[in-house]
Symmetry: C2
Subunit: 130 residues, 2 copies
DNA sequence: TTATCTGCAAAGTATTTGCATAATG
DNA sequence: CATTATGCAAATACTTTGCAGATAA
């Protein structure tokens, strides 16, 4: 049901090599640099399908969506450097429990949550100071 | 430095009466309904200034920003009904501590976070079932 | 072969901005 | 009266979509 096209392979390949969150436009540019011509619309469509199938994580920030291949299958969160994009994944059963308790206390059901941390990584903080 | 114009008063008045998060466009429509003609651009500008001065909370969801007058001054989070917008505010020092620990463990500084819960409130869940 | 994917350009959203005019303090 | 805010329309930025032609299976 999902055809392996040159374009899809190119996007998947790039996602494998990149470790930080990148916007669709950045991914498009990166592909161009490597000589892989893929239309921006195709990049968007491909990323969208990868997100739906759970292979890619998204992050909404400043009105734009960033993409990154998941490192772990279970639900998790991110600590992202707002300067260079360096990303650390981590799990947090605390929030899951919290969500459950909150739901119970307020009569809510089907509670989901979004939790992300943004900061400056050590390297960027050092550069900032100098 | 901030002039009290008819438009600003109208926006403030509406924010006082509304208890849920509303997008700029919804707020604009609500104002029109009440006969207060305020240009959409002005609604955006006013909300923006209210956010900057800390009088209004924002929530990013599905690529759009929603606004709501803060009920409490300290940093807090929300449990929002994704159907009717009903909102419960709550504090969570757990996350603050968590953010601090994460930062220390990974060498990050100036760590901020976003945490929101979305679910179905009791009433909407009941309607859903019927 | 044929259903799915791609490229292109056009259309959509949500938000911002330039500028002349209006209104506040 | 000097500034700051407003309205309008045009500009932005990101993302989605329609459609004809290309391509994987």
């Amino acid at each position: 049901m999902q055809r392996m096209t040159r374009q899809r392979l190119a996007v998947l390949g790039l996602l494998d090599r990149q470790s930080d969150f990148r916007s669709a436009q950045q991914i498009h540019d990166d592909l161009e640099e490597r000589g892989a011509r893929v239309a921006l619309a195709t990049v968007y469509r491909t990323l969208q399908s990868l997100v739906e199938s759970g292979q890619v994580d998204t992050l909404r920030h400043d009105g734009e969506i960033s993409y990154r291949k998941c490192r772990r299958a279970v639900h998790h969160h991110h600590l992202v450097c707002r300067n260079c994009g360096l990303t650390v994944e981590f799990e947090g059963d605390v929030v899951e429990r919290w969500a459950h308790d909150l739901a119970a206390a307020n009569g809510f059901v089907q509670v989901e949550h979004t939790l992300e941390f943004f900061g400056l990584c050590a390297r960027c903080a050092a550069e900032d100071a100098s």
